[in-house]
């Protein structure tokens, strides 16, 4: 049995009367792709916020790689090896695709209070950038301004940036959001190719993708974990069916 890389213990977060995370316990094992599904408002994105350190939980602990990271800053978490992608594409629009990835790659090196040398001419950074762009299939668009890229390409760029941080854990917040069927499939293949090499926590509404990618699935409803199990077990779980899948059609979610 693989050891857990990420442990969420009794996590609670509320905004006023609204509980967005409610006594949540989840373990993500090293090397697995762990999917998090649930209807809108189930508290998936706010959970990512808490894992990244953007939001402070009201109670509970988050353990990562043996460290208690509950009180750590975002920067420290990234240093320890957590990276995320955003549900709504969030890149540096005025920069080229290459610059975007250079920024991620140099973040991984962590000596950036360098005021002199020209960052864009740094051979290692350029090479690393190109490698990750190739990896996500954007190699040809390296010199395009991010603002000029199509939506699907931007999603790929997001992923390249997250990968360039060389994280131990990837938090993927709906990587397929807004993609065409074709783009979705390409992205799923890409993520599939990472399976086993990267630990991933995946939030996704595209159930085909989830069931193709996930090693385990946690179903989140109202901030609580309804069930955590292997995909086929989830598919046949009666509670899940009634509460969530039972509605039959998830496309509107």
């Amino acid at each position: 049995m693989a050891r857990p890389l990420l442990v969420i213990e009794d996590l609670n977060k509320s905004f006023g009367a609204l509980k967005v995370t409610d006594q949540l316990n989840v373990e993500v094992e090293e090397g697995e792709c762990h999917a998090l599904i649930g209807p809108n408002g189930a508290g998936k994105t706010t959970l990512i916020g808490q894992l990244m350190g953007e939001l402070k939980p009201n109670r509970g602990r988050i353990l990562f790689d043996g460290h208690d990271i509950t009180g750590l800053s975002q920067a420290r978490r990234v240093e320890l090896g957590i990276a995320r992608s955003f549900q709504i594409t969030s890149v540096f629009l005025d920069f080229t695709a290459q610059d975007n990835v250079i920024l991620a790659a140099q973040a991984a090196q962590d000596h950036n209070f360098r005021f002199w040398g020209r960052a864009r001419r740094h051979p290692d950074l350029r090479a690393a950038s190109q490698r990750y762009l190739d990896r996500v299939g954007l190699g040809a668009a390296a010199q395009s301004r991010a603002a000029d890229l199509a939506h699907g390409a931007l999603r790929q760029l997001e992923l390249a940036m997250a990968l360039a941080l060389e994280p131990k854990l990837l938090l993927l917040d709906e990587p397929m959001a807004g993609m065409s069927v074709q783009e979705s499939r390409t992205m799923t293949d890409l993520l599939k190719s990472l399976a086993g090499t990267k630990t991933m926590l995946l939030i996704e509404h595209d159930m085909d993708a989830v069931f193709r990618l996930a090693d385990r699935i946690t179903v989140l409803i109202g901030g609580r974990a309804l069930a955590t199990d292997r995909p086929d077990a989830i598919r046949s779980n009666q509670d899940v069916r009634t509460a969530y899948l039972g509605e039959g059609d998830h496309a509107g979610a």
């Binding site: 978490r77 969030s90 005025d94 080229t96 610059d99 920024l103 973040a107 950036n112 209070f113 005021f115």
Partner: protein, 331 residues
């Protein structure tokens, strides 16, 4: 990037540099020594404009309190030089030297310290509140400058100019070239910074702070360091303006001065550094021209500036240079 043939922006910078270098002899030849005095002001204000462009154009920090650092540098220079001229000690029997390299270094450090304290507090906010809190801190510094001990509203006279490595800069031309060298050095420093790793991160933060956070960058530290570098540049400009006018007064720190510097940034084109020089020159010369035209010159200047803000979004440098060379700040 190849150096020859030069790109259009490089060419513009080169032509500008040559013009600035040749200006004093030309002014002498035309028997217009007053021009050198005006040009010195232009160069000094260009320096403070460049420092604000670093904050606004690259760091996305719209500070409406930049005059505070300009004033801090000027007052530090004035006080030290007054003591130096009178042979009086500052503290512990230490009499400040008249030497500019020493006095100005202190002025830069003083401005940078103000920048550190104000930046550390102000950078907790962003957007509109950042604009206002920088203004508020500048007003507090303005109050310090209005203290009776610092000459109050009457300001401080400076009996002599500083020396530079022992040479006198009493002549207008000497001060002009010293200011020009200071501007060139600071421009070079800023140009290196914005293209460095640090600069890339800084510009990334200006575009999308949340993403920069998620990449693990300590956004606050990058901004604060930049804020301090900008304050230091303004402090150097302040030291020079104190020498130029041989006089400092709280007017140097008025919020309208901060706004004027901001206008120079926009006029030249934010995020272009060299454009800041152009912005300072054009605004000051325009003022000089309009003052000669009518007593009510501001009634003409206002609408001109309004049109500039509304139309020339990339500023004069963008207009001249065509496409922007290298990555600039957020547009």
């Amino acid at each position: 990037m190849t150096f020859w043939p030069p790109s259009r922006p490089t060419l513009i910078v080169l032509i500008g540099a040559v013009l600035l270098l040749l200006l004093p002899p030309i002014a002498e030849a035309l028997r217009q020594p007053f021009v050198i005095s005006v040009a010195t002001r232009v160069v000094i204000l260009a320096l403070v404009t460049v420092s604000l462009d670093l904050l606004i154009g690259f760091g996305g920090m719209v500070s409406l309190g930049h005059a505070a650092f300009f004033g801090a540098g000027a007052y530090a220079t004035a006080l030290l030089t007054q003591l130096a001229a009178a042979g009086k000690p500052l503290v512990w029997g230490w009499v400040p030297p008249v030497e500019g390299l020493a006095v100005w270094t202190i002025a830069i450090v003083v401005a940078a310290l103000f920048g550190l304290v104000i930046g550390a507090l102000a950078l907790r906010t962003s957007g509109f509140n950042f604009i206002m809190i920088t203004l508020a801190f500048a007003q507090m510094v303005l109050f310090l400058a209005s203290l009776r001990e610092l000459g109050g509203d009457d300001g401080l006279r400076i009996p002599v100019r500083n020396t530079v490595v022992g040479f006198s800069i009493e002549s207008q031309t000497a001060l002009y070239y010293v200011s020009l060298v200071a501007l060139a050095l600071y421009l070079f420093l800023c140009d290196r910074i914005v293209h460095s790793r640090f600069g890339l991160v800084l510009q990334a933060i200006a575009q999308n702070p949340r993403r920069a956070h998620a990449l693990g960058y300590r956004v606050y530290s990058y901004r604060l360091v930049t804020f301090v570098i900008g304050a230091a540049g303004a402090g150097l400009a302040g030291a020079l303006i104190a020498n130029h006018a041989r006089y400092v007064s709280p007017d140097l720190l008025m919020w309208t001065r901060s706004a004027e510097i901001m206008i120079m940034v926009i006029l030249g084109g934010k995020g272009t550094l060299f454009g800041a020089v152009l912005g300072a020159a054009v605004l000051l010369l325009l003022e000089e021209f309009l003052i000669g035209l009518t007593e009510h010159w501001q009634v003409i200047l206002g609408p001109i500036l309004l049109v500039v803000v509304l139309t020339a979004r990339r500023g004069l440098f963008g207009l001249l240079a065509g496409s922007r060379g290298g990555g600039g700040g957020h547009g």
